[in-house]
């Protein structure tokens, strides 16, 4: 059920701009947090993520319970109720399904400050196969009360999530990846045509949508490394054919930043959500619910199919098969724009 995790480099100042796995960024951030905050406990489930990690004086607060995810969630709830701040490490597939009743009743309903570090989000498990995919986890977690849900799009956002939620009074679901992914661009890209210049991204703030690029015609809303990067590249592509597209990084799905979303979608003809999740109930669901309630807009929800089979292969292969690459995304947006010209919208 698990594999070694040695392939990804750890995040350090020297490599901060290099591709990094969000799970490794989480690991390093947690080690820092544990050194600073004596309430923090790391509950592991034989994941191997912390193999060889130096906990220093916090070593006794690292507890590997073995392969027992449900027990880990209930135990974390007990720790949290006793004043500790437990982080539970498991895969997103197991956190959101295998151990769900403990998460629902004893963590979410009870509002306990348990942090669920859910690696292998989406199809990050790649060749490990479908039992290890998490394609419903965001829908499941969104349905639970009190749950803060964060999907960092890169290592920096992961560190920000760990740091900024240190004193969060309720539970956190932190969806992480597996293999290294590039950092989001934070400076203007030099080659883009006017008038859709990207702008320097604000630092990630938990609970606030991060505006990566302004655009007039289309607004992309993405979460997670691959979807956000694909949306940025698709926006570039569209700019080349005269379609101005903005990009929002909605890293926090709950509580959802409806204000920023509505402000940026007010003038758009089309709102496009991109996520590594089934089309139902995740980011597309959050955006659709918000817009339907307050300011209906035409939408295109891009995610994985609604059927049971998503295929198998590397993460990138599956994402490509399901159209989560820049070119097919841009093509779908063009088709949608052409079929509903702005004047008739």
């Amino acid at each position: 059920m698990t594999e070694t995790i040695a392939e990804a480099p750890s995040l350090s100042p020297d490599t901060a701009a290099a591709p990094a796995a969000t799970r490794n960024a989480y690991r390093d951030a947690l080690l820092t947090l544990m050194a600073a905050d004596p309430r923090v406990v790391c509950l592991d489930t034989d994941t191997g993520l912390f193999s060889g990690a130096d906990f220093g004086a916090a070593a006794e607060r690292y507890i590997d319970l073995g392969i027992a995810e449900h027990t880990a969630m209930d135990a974390a709830a007990g720790l949290a109720a006793s004043g500790w701040r437990p982080f539970v490490n498991t895969m997103a597939a197991f956190a959101s399904a295998r151990a769900l009743e403990a998460v629902k009743i004893n963590i979410a309903y009870a509002g306990q400050p348990v942090r669920i570090a859910a690696t292998h989000g989406g199809v990050a498990a790649g060749h490990l196969g479908a039992t290890h995919y998490a394609l419903e986890d965001l829908a499941v977690m969104r349905a639970l009360p009190n749950m803060t849900i964060v999907v960092p799009a890169d290592a920096a956002a992961t560190v920000a999530a760990v740091e900024q939620t240190a004193d969060l009074p309720g539970p956190l679901y932190l969806r992480l990846g597996r293999k290294p992914t590039p950092p989001l661009p934070t400076l203007p890209l030099p080659t883009l045509p006017l008038p859709t210049l990207p702008r320097p991204a604000e630092p990630p703030r938990i609970g606030r949508i991060q505006v990566l690029r302004d655009g007039a015609d289309v607004v992309f809303v993405g979460c997670g490394p691959h979807p956000v990067l694909a949306a940025l590249a698709a926006a570039d592509d569209l700019a080349g054919t005269g379609i101005s597209a903005g990009v929002l990084n909605a890293h926090t799905l709950a509580p959802f930043d409806t204000g920023t979303l509505l402000a940026h979608c007010a003038g758009a003809a089309l709102v496009v959500t991109v996520e590594e999740h089934r089309r139902a109930g995740g980011l597309g669901g959050a955006v659709a619910e918000t817009l339907a309630d307050q300011a209906p807009r035409r939408m295109l929800r891009i995610g994985l199919g609604d059927g049971p089979a998503v295929g198998a292969g590397s993460q990138d292969y599956i994402l490509e098969r399901h159209g989560l690459h820049p070119a097919p995304i841009a093509a779908r947006v063009r088709t949608a724009i052409e079929s509903h010209p702005r004047s008739s919208a």
């Binding site: 594999e3 191997g48 392969i67 295998r98 060749h127 196969g129 039992t131 590397s314």
Partner: protein, 319 residues
């Protein structure tokens, strides 16, 4: 830790089959994605005995309604299962080279769309319950079909395993057979250092199971035990198979690091050489150097007679 050689040669032919399966496993771990080497090699002899000596299965008709059911609850042993299914005729041996490649059906954990795979596994702690369901289904249907499940030892830390242990005993499901791959290691280290399982046999006994133990690399011993279930009428059976993680590859065997391996070209050659010397050293009659390991005929003839007396239906015959 030294590699444990089989104490006695297995039934004729089985040792060669297991050697080939080990070779396939090592080869698959040399692919781009690597694979769960250790926990695959620890179950090769068990799978060989099951598929070539015990299970009533039908490669020509995998869905044969009279077949015995097999569940690899420790789905990360998939490489050994794929190789066994290939050697048994469920899959083309050539298909093993597609393991881990985009579009292949052979991924890191087994999916049920693979011929011979009954259920998708990989999330630990489900297989024993599923196998129990198959056992109940057989009983409800008045069938003598049996249900065999291989669990990992670390996997027994999942509480659901023990729910099933209680339920299966309560239901007197003596057509259910669990085999624990007791290699002593989970991903990060020894099971006993993380969440101890011992006294494991006593635990199962306390739940009402009939318990036996065997050297999980002694094919003759495995065949004798697995070919004669139930050992006690009215009780499910569990065989605690003492195995070595990474069995057959000396430089990895018994080490936690062998849990998952992406073998470099050099490591692959070394592992292959280790397997070859292991094979020569473990035979009563050593193979002459350079002897090609030919594929054997697919085992149409049962090697363990007692439980295989009933013929399977032919393909196309109504259930």
């Amino acid at each position: 830790m030294t590699v444990m050689a089989p104490a006695t040669p297995g039934p004729a032919g089985l040792a060669d089959v297991a050697d080939r399966i080990r070779g396939h496993v090592v080869d698959m771990c040399a692919g781009r994605e690597g694979g769960h080497l250790g926990g695959s090699l620890s179950i090769v002899d068990i799978l060989t005995v099951l598929y070539f000596g015990v299970l009533r299965v039908d490669p020509a008709w995998p869905e044969n309604p009279d077949r015995d059911m097999f569940v690899l609850s420790k789905g990360h042993g998939a490489l050994a299962l794929y190789a066994t299914l290939a050697e048994r005729g469920f899959l083309p041996v050539d298909e093993l080279a597609s393991y881990g490649q985009p579009g292949s059906r052979l991924m890191g954990h087994p999916m049920r769309d693979i011929p011979g795979v009954e259920v998708s596994t990989g999330s630990l702690g489900h297989g024993l319950s599923l196998g129990f369901g198959f056992a109940l289904a057989a009983r409800l249907a008045g069938s003598d079909r049996r249900s065999f499940v291989i669990t990992g030892d670390g996997e027994l830390q999942e509480g659901s395993c023990w729910e099933t242990a209680a339920c299966a005993a309560a239901q007197r499901a003596d057509n259910l057979v669990a085999i624990v791959d007791r290699n002593g290691l989970q991903l990060t280290g020894p099971t006993e250092g993380i969440s101890p399982l011992e006294p494991l046999a006593d635990r199962w006994r306390a739940f009402g199971w009939s318990v036996r133990e065997a050297d999980g690399h002694d094919q003759a011993a495995l065949a004798a035990e697995l070919g004669a279930t139930p050992w006690e009428p009215g009780r499910p059976s569990v065989l605690i198979a003492r195995t070595t993680k990474g069995h057959g590859v000396r430089f990895l065997a018994g080490k936690p690091v062998c849990h998952y391996a992406t073998l470099s070209e050099r490591q692959h050659a070394r592992a292959r050489a280790s397997l070859a010397s292991f094979q020569r050293g473990s035979r009563d009659q050593a193979l002459p150097a350079g002897t090609p390991l030919d594929r054997p005929p697919l085992a149409g003839t049962p090697l363990v007679e007692a439980p295989l007396s009933q013929p399977l239906l032919s393909p196309g015959e109504p259930a």
